[in-house]
């Protein structure tokens, strides 16, 4: 099955939207997505398989009398299947209930340019190249230390395209690349097993270092061996980006989402202009971040992505909106109408959530802590209370810091609190910014975190 070119994707989207209008829709929007991915999997210390996925499809939103229907298909080979999909979307719109808060699809707007989101070298990679990359990563981990066992890993190269056309003259198309190498390891010695330790590179351009990823995954596993229990007390905690991303994903990201704010599920409702975090905390949602994992020209509704100020020096400045939530307040979308491929309708989500970095190196940050924990990852963040932001998670792995140095690994420490007090208690930021999923942030030092050790 040959890949569809950008203009072919766009033509499919335009044609489907035109069909919907012809058949009686007041408004219509069609998006077409294509994902071409090659990947190599590592399982239990060996290269296990090579895979190729070609996934593409089309989703159509039709609106009749302020009532909305959506239908998708991944059968793009014949026009009848596409027309049936459009007709079904119309049928669903007619069967659904009108929504008085619906004020129309987005209109055409000029786009900002985006940088570092496409690299021809990634598009041209073959399975053999990926097998080689995986071998380099695996060898680096295995050479590092005999006590390290690489549990699983992956090298993946993707070429993604999206085209979108609506009845308001929006007609846009964008393509981008991603490459990822990742390795999960455990350390084992004399009957002791460490928690899973993980390292990865995920970039939009061909800028990964598989040997460094393998070595770091192995180093983490060795350093988590001989873990001890810790005592129950309130203490300083340094969160790495992994742990911070896990905690924010199920709590803070909901609180800045306009849908949650409007529906009275956010502690930030009615608090724009108020102090909600430590004054060293400044946060943007930056859909244009160069090389950002979620950087695209436009969002899932064809609205240009942008940079939106959320928290400025601790003061809440705004929320993220899709077209629906924005129009409900008489505003414009912030380009946060997110879509999981052709299968879904848009919903509000962050693009690249950018926590501004500080000036200390990682070593200097550890150096300011007399006694505390360095937490690399937490287990159970998804069980946080999504409205109140309360969490009760286990730090796996984590290390005790004493007198400004890492002393020993800690096992089974529970961290309890809520994300909003945590953000108020951020005291120092490092400069070691990195991208983890939708978060871009440095390590952060937080005072007075409740730790339950025994």
């Amino acid at each position: 099955m040959a890949a569809l070119r950008q203009q072919e994707l766009l033509r499919l989207a335009e044609k489907a939207s035109e069909t919907a209008l012809k058949k009686g829709a007041d408004e219509a929007e069609t998006c077409v997505f294509q994902d071409l991915s090659n990947y190599v999997s590592i399982e239990r210390g060996q290269i296990a398989k090579t895979s190729r996925v070609i996934d593409r499809g089309l989703g159509c939103r039709a609106i009749v009398n302020k009532s909305l229907g959506f239908c998708y298909t991944n059968v793009l080979e014949n026009e009848t299947a596409i027309e049936e999909t459009v007709l079904k979307a119309l049928g669903f719109a007619k069967a659904s209930k009108p929504d008085d808060d619906w004020h129309g699809l987005p209109a055409e707007k000029p786009f900002a340019s985006v940088e570092g989101t496409y690299d021809r070298r990634i598009e041209n990679l073959h399975s053999e190249n990926l097998v080689e990359t995986a071998s380099v990563m695996l060898d680096a981990a295995q050479k590092k230390d005999k006590r390290v066992f690489p549990v699983e890993g992956e090298v993946r190269a993707s070429y993604l395209s999206a085209g979108l056309a609506n009845s308001n003259a929006v007609s846009v198309v964008d393509s981008g690349t991603m490459i990822e190498c990742s390795l999960a390891t455990i350390g084992h010695e004399a009957g002791e097993v460490t928690p899973v330790c993980f390292e990865f590179n995920l970039e939009r351009t061909y800028d990964i270092n598989p040997a460094a990823v393998g070595e770091e995954a192995a180093r983490l596993a060795v350093s988590a061996l001989k873990a001890k229990k810790t005592e129950t007390k309130d203490t300083c905690v340094i969160f790495t980006q992994f742990a911070l991303q896990q905690l924010l994903s199920y709590t803070f990201i909901n609180a800045i989402n306009a849908d949650h704010v409007q529906r009275d599920q956010s502690v930030f409702r009615g608090r724009v202009g108020e102090r909600v975090a430590s004054e060293i905390v400044t946060v943007y949602d930056d859909g244009l971040l160069p090389g950002g994992i979620r950087t695209w020209r436009f969002d899932g509704e064809g609205v240009p992505q942008q940079k939106t100020l959320i928290i400025e020096k601790g003061v809440l400045r705004g929320f993220i909106y899709d077209n629906y939530t924005a129009r409900k307040e008489g505003k414009g979308s912030t380009g946060n109408g997110s879509r999981a491929s052709y299968l879904s309708t848009p919903s509000v989500d962050a693009t690249n959530l950018h926590f501004q970095a500080g000036s200390k190196s990682a070593e200097e940050l550890i150096g300011v802590v007399d006694e505390g924990l360095l937490v690399n990852s937490v287990q159970g963040a998804h069980t946080s209370n999504p409205a109140s932001g309360e969490f009760s998670v286990v730090a796996t792995p984590s290390w005790k810091i004493k007198n400004g140095e890492i002393a020993y690994p800690v096992k089974g420490a529970m961290l309890v609190g809520d994300i909003f007090h945590l953000l108020e208690n951020v005291s120092v930021l490092a400069q070691n910014e990195r991208k983890i999923g939708q978060l871009v942030a440095p390590w952060i030092l937080v005072e007075n975190v409740k730790v339950i050790g025994k």
Partner: protein, 461 residues
């Protein structure tokens, strides 16, 4: 369909000397509806047709997924998969081999009393609107409610180079309700789900309106709840929570791919891993349960698999590959979410076997502890560290249920905790869920009330 798929198999066997080939095709239709308060946010329907091709060449796997059922495209894709497998085989030290499995030929036709594909979308929307109305009418402190509905119907086709050919009907119905209540600065969150593989008739039995009432009552009751004390306490786990414990804390470690990765169970077969009152099953044959099916995605029949018997680890969950590595028999646990991914070892319906305690007997000896009634989620690690978040809990004071407690979680080491299980109740329940392991699987989990002598409770008081 069989002829098309057979042709693809023979392309790989004859053209590339593949040792093993399997082709999994699907024709699926999904309906999904989301209602927020009184607003139908989206009524969606979709077609997902596609094919997964997996080949074993020179001891290494090649896999291709393609969103078509067209024979020429599939023949090209299977050739690709064979070439990719060769590329991987150069770096593989130990060749992959599969445990033997009988080549089944079967056609599984489902007979739901109410086929969700034939229920008008208007009826489904009205059901969701009724659910939301019930939640919002229950108490004005309930601020918002989201209900998601999903049904999935269609057919899966499986063929392999050993002569198996299976056509299997697929049917899933799922409904999830979540609500947020607020009083001044206190926010609470509550959710429930229903799921079935039998048909739309599931909504006639335990009606969604009852589920809505449970969600609303919990959200408002939690407004007055207090945080738990942090520390180690005796606990009684409800069927919903013990099911999560069996699934997350133990079950994942007993998925043979994870066991082989060095989980804490890797050297424990035939040994004691729990107290004598603990018996665990993973059962793919429970009629209508959310994790049930007739054949897995390697064509192996589902079965009732005994994992722990009276405290001893007696079995693991296997694919054909892991069964071969551990000289065991495949257990029918190899599942793939859809045509986009390859099958991996997954759970089905996982539970602790009921014994003979009444609920009163379980709590009567507890001076101070917690009754953990309903879970929010859980997660386990290879070293046996588990965490389970709780959405509904109560203090147990002097053998009686006391005040409600909110946002608790429990954590510990799986094996240490299993040896502290000292009593299991008699009433048995199964709860539907969606398990994530890189891909999603519909499962259920449960058992009977279970008492643990001591487990670490995370709380802020």
């Amino acid at each position: 369909m069989k002829d098309v798929l057979a042709k693809v198999v023979s392309t790989a066997v004859q053209g590339f000397k593949a040792e093993y080939v399997e082709v999994r095709a699907q024709k699926l239709r999904k309906t999904a509806i989301t209602v927020k308060e009184a607003r139908v946010e989206a009524a969606k329907q979709g077609i997902e047709n596609g094919t997964a091709l997996r080949v074993l060449v020179k001891g290494a796997w090649g896999f291709a997924s393609i969103s078509t059922l067209n024979v020429e495209a599939l023949s090209a894709a299977v050739s690709d998969a064979c070439r990719m497998a060769r590329a991987a085989s150069a770096r593989r030290r130990v060749p992959v081999k599969l445990a033997p499995a009988r080549a089944v030929e079967d056609k599984v036709v489902l007979k739901p009393r109410k086929d969700p594909g034939k229920v008008p979308v208007e009826d489904k929307m009205n059901l969701l609107l009724t659910v939301n109305n019930t939640v919002l009418q229950n108490d004005n402190r309930v601020k918002s409610v989201t209900t998601n509905y999903l049904d999935l119907t269609g057919t899966g086709y499986f063929i392999n180079s050993e002569g198996a050919y299976i056509e299997q009907g697929k049917l899933y119905v799922f409904l999830g309700v979540s609500a947020v209540a607020r009083e001044n600065d206190v926010f609470t969150y509550s959710r429930e789900a229903m799921g079935s593989t039998s048909g739309y008739e599931v909504f006639d039995v335990e009606t969604p309106v009852k589920v809505a009432e449970t969600v609303a009552r919990r959200a408002t009751a939690q407004l007055k709840a207090k945080p738990p004390r942090g520390g180690t306490f005796p606990v009684v786990l409800g069927p919903n929570v013990v099911g999560t414990f069996v699934h997350e804390a133990f079950g994942h470690l007993a998925e043979a791919d994870i066991t082989l990765s060095g989980s804490v169970l890797s050297d424990k077969l035939e040994k004691k891993v729990a107290s004598n009152v603990v018996t665990f099953y993973d059962d793919g044959t429970v009629n209508g349960a959310f994790g049930s099916f007739k054949y897995d995605d390697e064509g192996v029949p589902a079965q009732k698999t005994l994992l722990v018997k009276d405290g001893a680890l007696v079995g693991l969950m296997h694919s054909r590959e892991t069964a071969q590595q551990l000289s065991a028999r495949p257990t029918g646990n190899s599942r793939a979410e859809d045509f986009r991914v390859e099958p991996i070892v997954r759970m089905r319906n996982t539970f602790i076997e009921a014994r003979d305690y009444s609920f009163e007997e379980l709590i009567e000896g507890v001076k101070f502890g917690y009754y953990l009634k309903s879970f929010r989620g859980g997660e386990a690690n290879l070293d046996g560290t588990f965490q389970i978040g709780i959405q509904e809990a109560y203090e147990i004071v002097k053998g009686e249920i006391g005040e409600p407690v909110r946002n608790a979680s429990i954590s510990g080491n799986t094996l240490e905790t299993l040896f502290k299980v000292d009593a299991v109740g008699k009433e048995f329940e199964l709860w539907p869920g969606v398990c994530g392991k890189g891909q999603s699987a519909f499962v259920s989990q449960g058992g009977a009330h279970t008492r643990v002598k001591g487990v670490m409770v995370g709380g802020s008081a």
